[in-house]
């Protein structure tokens, strides 16, 4: 039955100018245009957005949760990337 199903789109909404788009959920639609209007009707009935992005779910490339630790491992041991790594005497100000 799912062969007949309209494709799935992920919906991203910018709630107001100055903020980034954020994932809201998904909708089914026959085409891109319908995906936008369906997303509007489903996720912004109370003015939750000023801009919507929709993208076919099968077009999203995602990292694999099973590989999370290996994938993010390179950042694991680089604490010197954080400002608190450096010891500065209290007398020195504005730093």
């Amino acid at each position: 039955m799912s062969k007949h199903e309209w494709p799935l789109y992920e919906v991203f909404i910018r709630s107001k100018s100055g903020l980034s788009h954020r994932h809201a959920g998904s909708v089914h639609a026959a085409d891109d245009e319908m995906a936008l209007t369906n997303a509007r009707d489903t996720y912004t009935r109370r003015k939750e957005g000023v801009s919507i992005w929709v993208v076919r779910s099968d077009q999203i490339v995602a990292s694999d949760p099973a590989e999370t630790s290996a994938f993010f491992e390179p950042a694991e041991d680089k604490i010197y990337r954080h400002p608190t790594f450096y010891e500065i005497p209290d007398e020195v100000e504005n730093l």
Binding site: M1, H4, E5, W6, G25, V27, D31, M34, T42, Y43
Partner: protein, 328 residues
């Protein structure tokens, strides 16, 4: 609008493939309040329990449009009509948020719809009761949505991320539903004797079915423990039901209406209301298909699905044609 305590943990037939180590690591994540996300490893029984609960919840929202839709053309004023229309549209939206959350667990939308239409999947017992008068729309908003909120607020903290996020969105909207319902009751309660009687009659008919929305009593709810351990559920059916009664009885008193329970009394010591036993036979009858409106609800849903088939096909054909034109 609502989820009922019908959730049952799936059979653990797939458990053989799941190692003790995996299960312990999963439980450890749950215990530290980490959220589980769509593609994360999870026990099959957790997945199945969630699919069952979320889809059942989604179906309830969709079927729940019918008893209220019944009054759209007969709402007493244009304002009431516009409000009811917005509410019914919200129910559709809630169904869609939830179908979307359930799909992240690997079940297709079509499969869920098929399960509803074949009767394999259940929906809340409350929507199998008729809406006979306009006051029923008030009672549904006040009591049914009120019970739903009580049930759903803890679900905002559910361990499964997509479900929890859908519930947060839904809870924000439910508050409008409950307040508009109470306002209808208030208007009727302050009206003529006939209007007040209509409000009382609606309370009489919806009180007990609303209490049943919390699902079977804890003693009879055998699968709750696993859902609690997985933090899908945070409070037991009876705990939530008691909370609902405690907050709702004073609201009924304010309306000047009488809760239809002659054993209802406030226990000063416990700080809770005591109530009569619930007629669980009625609950199980309605759940198993013998409520006043089960057949009507399903027939209408199936007809809507069939009547919409050509639209779905036409939209697909149009999309394919446009794509072909762009490619040419």
């Amino acid at each position: 609008m609502y989820t009922q305590g019908l959730d049952q943990a799936g059979k653990s037939d797939a458990a053989g493939a799941e190692t003790k180590q995996q299960l312990e690591a999963f439980q450890a994540r749950i215990d530290t309040e980490e959220k589980i996300e769509a593609k994360d490893w999870m026990p099959e029984a957790y997945r199945r329990t969630l699919i069952r609960q979320i889809s059942q919840h989604a179906h309830s929202e969709i079927i729940g449009m019918q008893p209220e839709g019944n009054w759209l053309t007969r709402a007493p004023t244009l304002k009431r009509k516009a409000i009811l229309l917005a509410k019914v549209q919200d129910e559709a939206g809630h169904g869609l948020y939830l179908y979307s959350a359930a799909e992240t667990l690997g079940i297709s939308r079509d499969q869920m719809v098929a399960d509803l239409l074949s009767g394999k999947a259940k929906y809340s017992s409350i929507f199998n009761y008729p809406t006979l008068t306009w006051a029923d729309i008030g009672a549904i908003g006040w009591l049914v949505d009120g019970a739903a909120i009580m049930n759903q607020i803890p679900l905002c903290r559910c361990s499964y991320g997509p479900y929890s996020r859908a519930m947060i969105r839904i809870c924000k909207e439910e508050s409008f539903h409950q307040r508009q319902g109470y306002e209808i009751m208030l208007t009727l309660a302050r009206g003529t004797d006939e209007q007040k009687a209509m409000a009382q009659d609606a309370l009489n008919r919806f009180w007990w079915p609303s209490l049943m929305m919390f699902g079977p009593s804890d003693a009879a709810s055998k699968h709750s423990a696993q859902s609690m351990a997985w933090k899908i559920k945070r409070f037991s059916n009876d705990e939530l039901r008691q909370k609902f009664i405690d907050v709702t009885v004073p609201q009924a008193e304010y309306l000047g209406l009488t809760v239809p329970d002659d054993k209802l009394r406030f226990n000063e010591e416990t700080g809770h209301y005591e109530h009569s036993d619930i007629d669980w036979q009625e609950f199980f009858d309605v759940i198993s298909g013998n409520g006043p409106c089960n057949e009507q609800r399903m027939a209408k849903r199936r007809k809507a699905q069939d009547d919409g088939a050509w639209v779905r096909e036409a939209a697909k054909a149009y999309a394919a044609k446009k794509l072909a034109e762009e490619a040419a």
